[in-house]
Symmetry: C2
Subunit: 167 residues, 2 copies
DNA sequence: GTGTCTGCAAAGTCTTTGCACCATA
DNA sequence: TATGGTGCAAAGACTTTGCAGACAC
């Protein structure tokens, strides 16, 4: 695993070539700056299909950029969420989980949450019918309530296969 | 507002006549007991259509039963959630919110969550189409993943009327 | 050079746990 | 009377804030 130290900062940019090109512009467009910690965090988010917690992101990004602090991770995740680039989830285990919008979009899915063992199952069945329903609902709701809908969440809660067997 | 002190405990039961009759049985059926703090908490939950936080429940129930402690509220809410009698929500403001199942059922609705001001708008439009979609999804998912679905959540996130105007 | 960003430490908030006492069935 | 249940205080977990120094543009 390559790491970046402070000495290397001016020489090597992390993930150069692995980062999709628009991020710097997106930040600057909102009046923010692209920095090395932010690049490391984005790198981590782009490379996973899991729903990482702030701590998860920190531990991974820390491998790439050891000087990183947990605070920065929280601040960056909040920033990205506010920018609409990141989805923030709650699965009821007391910590927030995140997924890049661009990843949610290319791999549209929702969640089955086991209330016993807290396991999360991604499913992408029924996505087509769902999309149709959602499209109509979003259209109607945004009109009726003058509410600009940016995102949605659908979760089913229940008891998973394993927990059903073990009880 | 009537309150119940320890002295009255053996004489007056709180909310007698206002409590739907099955609660004692539901608790006992699960090996638990019906107690005065639990009755006070249930009373509060039954009287509101809002999504109360643990603190909210505590403050209200405390008016009825002043000896109540916040810990008991948390424990009772968890118990009811595990029993499947209570819905636990997260609207992204860092505290869990609760709504009695029987109330959700008689007044089926979902939520628009404003990501700017954290306002929650209940809506019950599209519930019929939604119900149909959900029924099929639940059936299919529970079969495919052998997952026993007890509950679901649908939330739309975005910017509300007021926040759109003020930016 | 200026305004933003960062890491550290400390504080804040919500929630859970340990324990001795009390109440329900 | 035997289990649960309760309140208090303390601890725990996640997240946010204050601040001085560092960095991007």
């Amino acid at each position: 695993m390559e790491t970046i130290t402070n000495k290397q900062r001016k020489v090597n940019m992390p993930g150069r070539g692995m980062m999709s090109p628009g991020w710097g512009g997106k930040f600057r467009g909102c009046g923010y700056r692209m920095t090395l910690p932010r690049q490391a965090i984005l790198n981590v988010l782009q490379k996973t299909k899991k729903h990482l917690s702030a701590e998860d992101v920190y531990m991974e990004a820390h491998k790439i950029f050891p000087h990183l602090g947990l605070t920065t991770v929280y601040r960056t995740l909040e920033l990205l969420t506010d920018m609409g680039e990141l989805n923030k989830f709650d699965f009821g285990d007391g910590r927030a989980r995140y997924e890049l919008m661009e990843i949610s979009e290319e791999d549209h899915h929702h969640h089955l949450v086991c209330t016993k063992c807290k396991r999360i199952i991604n499913y992408s069945d029924f996505v087509d019918e769902e999309l149709e329903f959602l499209k109509r609902a979003e259209k109607g709701l945004s009109k009726k309530y003058n509410f600009e809908i940016n995102n949605h969440i659908i979760q089913f809660y229940g008891v998973c296969d394993k927990c059903k067997k073990s009880k």
